[in-house]
């Protein structure tokens, strides 16, 4: 299991090097930052899912099929 610093590096290195400040954090600080980030990410995931379902349920009937396909190509939702 990667340690907290490594998990933080992995999560925050999208499209580049991980931010340098990670190396300056102690274990407790790294864990707190990771926890805040993971909460934000989960909130965004749930928000996106809920919004897409909501959009679908309120869309004009004639557009629902195409919207369903665009939003949930694998058939979920």
């Amino acid at each position: 299991v990667p340690d907290t610093h490594e998990r933080l590096r992995q999560r925050l290195s999208a499209g580049g090097e991980p931010p340098a400040v990670i190396e300056q954090l102690d274990d407790d600080q790294a864990a707190r930052l990771l926890e805040v980030y993971e909460r934000a990410s989960e909130r965004q995931r749930r928000g996106l899912q809920a919004s897409m379902e909501e959009v679908l349920s309120h869309a004009p009937r004639m557009l629902r099929g195409r919207l369903q396909k665009a939003l949930f190509p694998e058939g979920s939702g």
Binding site: R11, L12, S13, A14, G15, G16, P18, P19, A20, V21, I22, Q24, Q29, R32, L33, V36, Y37, R39, A40, S41, R43, Q44, R45, G47, L48, Q49, S51, M52, E54, V55, H58, A59, P60, L63, R66, L67, A70, L71, F72, P73
Partner: protein, 389 residues
Amino acid sequence: MSSLAARAEVLKLSRALGCPTDELEFLASHPPAELAELRHATARALQEEHAPALSRAVSASRLLPAGLTARVSEQMLDPALAARMATQMPPDRAAKVVDHLSTEYLADVAQILDPAGARGIVERMSDELVLEVADVLLGREEYLSLARFVDVASDTVVAAVLSEVADEQLLHLALGLESTARLDEIMRDLDDERVAGTVRAAVRAGLPLEALTLTAEVDGRNLARLAAGVAELDDDELTEIVRTTTREQAWSDALRLVASMEPEQQRRMLELPVSREPEVLAAIVAAVHDEDLWAQLVGLLELMDRPHLELLAEVELLYDPEVARAVVRASVEVHHWAPLLRIAEELEDAFRERVADVLAHLDAQELHEVIDRLPDDERERALRLLPEW
């Protein structure tokens, strides 16, 4: 000074992550540039982790007319999500949707949106609409959010906002800017009175730390104009600045400011009773030592009267051999020995002996070379003070 700039970065990061600022307060001791890098990395990571879902949502939105997409967004999308979707959309399409959104909702989104990613959208929005959103943000005192858009808004919009805001609001906007280069540019376009008024308004509003932070971010002519604004403050206000500077350990920045003042203004600062307090003098010497600002201090020594110099001579740090070396080096660099000689001549014997003890630790060859290069009268004075050399 970094503390206020770092706190501003923590606030921006907490906005991006949707958490209370308190939860990330532990980051405020890190350099602002590193925190800005963390914020950008966080925004990129959140965008990438949910890229497939965001991309599907954006694709779906293309099936709806812009007006309907706007209505659905405003009713159902959390502003943070709308901000992420906006930066995924082709800017032309996003700008069309934006035209149908209320300014209140746009302001909600602007508080979270990454301006760099939204440049293409902002550039396509009419100046009138951008100004309406800016008005909402000003009304909410969301200076940090507004400031972040100064880099991407048109010059017309920036000029209109700056002409509208009060001096104190201008300070908050200036402190929130993403780049110091942009701050210098904006300040260059303001007249002298506006620049001086901004720093005065900050101090009078009980924000001396913010005023100092602003002075730390600029150079040259802008720094001199800010210094002129500070110099116009009354004694009580200047005293408050000195106390805040000492409390916040911000003398390295404050010395740059004082060094930009006219000699008469510097003398007035030095004559304030607070400038003679032991803890203030100790804080100044510590900052000078930490940041190697001896050249700046040597210039000020000339303006100090004898009682002031005697108080300064009581600062223990001055008797550290490392410090003595730094003073000698700085004096060589600025070719300015007269004030140091005057101090040495005016101090009580006990202090002179301590100075001689410290100098005895210096490299004799180096000190001889320095003394040899002094003008005749100064060399004689130096040798009188240091007969053993």
